[in-house]
Amino acid sequence: MKQLLAKAKKVCDQAEIYYTESEETTVEFRDAKLHDIESNYKSGYSLRIIKDGKLGFSYTRNLINPDDLIKNAVNSLKGKVEARYEFPSTITALQLETFDPVLNDLTSKEMVAECSRLCEIFKNKTDAEIMMVAGKGSENLRIMNSKGTDLSSKNGSYFLWMGLTYPGGASGIRRTYINKSFQTTPEELINEMIDMYNSSSNVVEPESGKMEVLFMPNSVYTLNWRTLSGTSGKSVYEKVSPLSEKIGLKIFSKKITIFDDPQDDTHPWARSFDDEGISTKEHTIVENGVLKNFYYNLEYAEKLGAHPAGHGYKTSRWSGDSISLKPLPSLQHIKIHPGNTSLSEIIKSIDKGIILEGVMGAHSGNIPNGDYSVGVSPGIYVENGKILGRVKDAMVAGNVYETLKNVVTVEDKTHYTWSGFFPAILCDNMSVSTKK
């Protein structure tokens, strides 16, 4: 890599190399039976060069001929993509505990055994169609640039995704459990899934109207996605954010605090530097309902005259391939601050409402505007604090900037979801459409 950087430097003012090497094995159970085991070994390089304020970019899997990679980057300079920023000079970054060597010893056989054990428990206690994916993965990352930055990290994770599906549908109760190495699945989590599934097994048909909606952690991304769109430096720069002028103003209920916590290495994927080599730190977006900060990568920080605080990541909304992506403003370690009421107390407090266990269609609708309109997948109907059953064919619609003003209660715990660590959030005066 050093040679590649030295070569690249000769043709430009600044150069940066991003290298990733990852491996992953997943074990998949469907209908409570082992279905598939897949492994994946990937590595690759991206090169960014800046010359006369213009960006060149290229990538490859196999560095057979470094000159080709440099040539592709030089060719792309001709497009004259503006790049007035400077790569950072980050000499040291905090060493985080992101890899537990015990993970190396975890075999497919052990993951199969854990899934089989869980399937047996769920089979005995529910009539659900049981799906499960367990996996382990690790990634080595290295970022070097011509300003002397040379950072690397190794991340490891074990994850387990469990789904209890109502027969005939494909909606159901899903939970994800993650760790830095294999851990036996907590009984509390298993029981919570079983209870939620069994209490919602019959179908009810409530009437349309205004009611309370409890966004479960798995559904909170519907709201958060819109908030993150509104607070991204990219949206602010592109003038599509409704929040551009609202720093310091109250945009949500005072019960809502949203922040990025990249260095929390009790969970997998902690990072002390972002994909552009900038040191990370805790970053508050909304504090007690007040909008505090937007978030930027190098490019958008420069465009808006802001300070980049380590939020440039090579990710896309969909799958994407990190080496082929440009860094964009992204919060990879998002958390919503818990409140002080337990989930069971919250459910008991609902006069009439829906527990939104999962949603469909969070990606459609006018996201920049904050609008959403999602199918319940499933929605569990509650009256007078009691779960009556699940609702099919219903939609919950609103605008995040209204919804999060109407927060009644926030759960006293956060849970891992693919989009962040969230508590359940109860909101009032929500619009629910059903067939009645």
């Binding site: 469907r30 897949e38 990937k42 590595s43 497009g79 549908g169 391939d321 619609a397």
Partner: protein, 454 residues
């Protein structure tokens, strides 16, 4: 190349093994507003190895040639582990062993057009919306993905096929006060660069619509009868029905599998649904899937009765149905899974005016905006629409999201128009992205649709 792949396969002590090597060349040109944010061409490559041994089947994807021996070892071990843990051995349907090179015919080969010319074309398109006052943002991008695939199996298959996908797609955003609206624009195909030429008029039209949307009324939530345009009809048939024609999805959902029995009346008798990736000049075209199986036309539903489904070699055996050639991977990073190629509702006899007359009062909803299914329930958005009163188009509406139950909705499609439009861009995400996923249909009349309004 085949010799090198043969050497890797030779090391796999297995009942069956195949390997796919791909070289992928991607070209991207992206504008964000007036600014060009990305341009360039790059090449990546990688391998996918699949192994069947002792009744278990497993796959490993890898990108470094030197990882091949390790990949072979892991795939064999995992296949054996699966074999030990399942009751019913995995078997693959017998297929003809094919040796072929298939390079598609392109009307205008995008590989021969200089990147500078592509850039100027995209810039010209991008400038069209930006010349209007209330357009605050455009995100318009050109993408060209050229996949050179080499497939080799221990049965003797040896296939080289190229897939060349050209597309222009984007989002145009308008803003008035605090209200922003956006609309998608896209074109492209599998048959060459001409599919993205001459789009000026289309860009003007889409720009006009997104400006009109600033004045449109949000739709009121409720249950409506709707005319659905061909684009949305295509997304409906893909999302709500098509995924349950994919045998790997219903295989392990016992209740769904029972319902999706061949011969069951699942839809209104006006509904006939086909998947035909062999049709030339459409986005989903290919000759062989990533198991080396020639793709066939499959009639999925005839007059509301389920008549067929889409298979991999494994599921064809499992269902005791004939193979169909629908096992396809996004690229060299993935093992193949069952995908639709080109699914559409066959047109009927009603003109659009006739459909309006049949609807009387309701909504005319147009252009899909994301869709998702969860079992028998589906949700998707429409980009815009109109109220219909007494069979006549009235005011424009926005913020339209529909939700429904597959089986009820299939029965509630009561009339099918006489037009047929197939999609020009795709992006089906089923764990992997399929940019060639093609769908379509005529205008259709759909009763009792739940619309979630604000």
């Amino acid at each position: 190349m085949f010799k090198k792949l043969g050497n890797i396969l030779a090391k796999a002590e297995a009942d069956y093994a195949d390997i796919r090597y791909e070289v992928m060349k991607e070209t991207f040109i992206t504008f964000n507003g007036k600014e060009l944010s990305r341009i360039g061409s790059n090449i990546t490559d990688g391998y996918v190895l699949r192994v069947l041994k002792n009744g278990g089947m497993s796959s490993v994807a890898f990108t470094k040639e030197e990882d091949a021996p390790g990949a072979v070892k892991t795939a064999v071990e995992n296949a054996v582990l699966i074999g030990m843990n399942i009751d019913k051995s995995i078997k693959l349907a017998k297929i003809p062993v094919i040796k072929d090179t298939f390079l598609p015919e392109l009307k205008e080969d995008p590989r021969k057009i200089p990147i500078g010319e592509k850039l100027e074309l995209v810039r010209k398109y991008n400038d069209i919306p930006l010349s209007h006052d209330k357009i605050v943002m455009t995100n318009i991008g050109y993408s060209e993905v050229n996949r050179e695939k080499y497939f080799l199996s221990t049965e003797g298959a040896e296939i080289r096929e190229d897939l060349i996908t050209t597309s222009l797609r984007g989002l145009i955003t308008s803003k008035d006060g605090n209200l922003t609206q956006n609309i998608r624009v896209g074109s492209g195909g599998s048959d060459g660069f001409q599919s993205i030429r001459n789009l000026e008029e289309k860009l003007e039209k889409r720009t006009g619509l997104v400006l009109d949307l600033l004045k449109a009324e949000p739709v009121k939530g409720g249950v409506y009868n709707c005319i659905v345009d061909p684009n949305l009809a295509g997304v409906f048939v893909h999302e709500a029905f098509g995924h349950f024609s994919e045998a790997d999805i219903i295989e392990t959902l016992p209740a769904m599998r029972e319902k999706m029995e061949i011969g069951s009346q699942l839809g209104n008798e006006v509904l006939t649904i086909i998947d035909n990736a062999t049709m030339p000049d459409q986005l989903g075209f290919y000759k062989y899937d990533d198991e080396g199986v020639p793709v066939r036309e499959v009639q999925l539903m005839k007059n509301g009765v389920l008549t067929g489904r889409l298979h991999s070699r494994r599921t064809a055996m499992e269902f005791d149905e004939s193979f169909s050639g629908h096992c396809v991977a996004e690229d060299y990073r993935f093992a193949p899974i069952i995908r639709m190629g080109n699914i559409y509702i066959e047109p009927g006899t009603d003109s659009f005016e006739k459909l309006l007359e049949k609807l009387e009062d309701g909504l005319y909803i147009i252009d899909a905006k994301g869709g998702q299914t969860s079992g028998e329930n589906f949700t998707f958005g429409a980009q815009y629409g109109y109220l219909v009163k007494d069979g006549k188009k009235a005011g424009m509406i926005r913020d339209i999201n529909m939700s429904g139950n597959l089986y009820k909705t299939m029965m509630d499609i009561t009339a099918v128009g006489n037009d047929l439009v197939l999609s020009k861009t795709g992006g089906c995400g089923k764990g992997q992205l399929n940019i060639r996923s093609c769908n379509g249909g005529p205008h259709i009349l759909m009763n009792n649709v739940v619309i979630g309004g604000v």
